[in-house]
Amino acid sequence: MQLLYFGWVRARIGKVQETVNLPTHIKDVSALIKWLKKRGGGYHEAFQNLNLIRVAINQEITTLDARVDPDDEVALFPPMTGG
C-alpha cells in the first residue's frame, strides 16, 4: 500500500510517502492508523488526536471507517487549508 502524508502529519512522521505491506487483518483506515501508531515516535505523535486526521483513498476524501485495499493510495493529513 502506498501511503502519503501532508501538513503536520508529514512533518511529525518525517516522510512524504512510503510503501507498506499491510497485515491481512487491517481492513479500514482506523485500523491502519492504529497499526502505524504502534511504530511510536513521530507516528504516535502524528495520530494522537484522530479528530484532526483527514483521509483520502485514491485521491478521494473519505472517512476513517472507509475500507482499504492493498493496492490503494492512502493519504493522511490534517484538515485542509486551501484558498
Binding site: I61, F77, M80
Partner: protein, 152 residues
Amino acid sequence: MIRVQEEDFDVGIELSKMTDEHFGIGAQSCFIGLVRDMANQEHISAMTLEHYPGMTEKQLRKIEKEANQRWPLNDVLIIHRFGKLQPGDRIVLVATTSAHRRAAIESCHFLIDWLKTKAPFWKVESSLSGDSWVEAQDNDEREAKKWETENT
C-alpha cells in the same frame, strides 16, 4: 478552467481572457487571496504552501463542476499557487462570469468558501519564533457547510 502552479499570475490578463469577445457576459466576479504579513500578533516573513499533486487538480475540477451545476455561468477560473510566498503575494484567484450579477457573485463566494475546506493545501507561516502550521478555522468549516444546505 483550473490551474495549480508555483508562479504568480497576471490578474488583468486572466480576467480579460474570460470576457474578451464574449458578448453575452454581463457580470464578472472575482476574489484574490493574498499572504498577510501578520498572524497571531506575529510578523510573518514567508508562507509556504504544500499540496497533494493530482488530488488538488481533481478537487478543484469537482468544485468547478459543482459551481457550473448550481449557477448559469459562462466560465469559471481557479488559479491556486503552491510553494514559498512572501507577504503581499497572491495565493489564489477565483473568477466567474455570467449573464447576471447574482450568479457571478454567489458562485465566486461559493468557490472560495469551498476551496478553504476542500482543496488539499496546507500552509506554514514562518516568523521569528519559528514555523507554524496554519490551522483550519471553525468558521471556514461553517461557511463551507452553509453552501451544502442553502437553496441557491
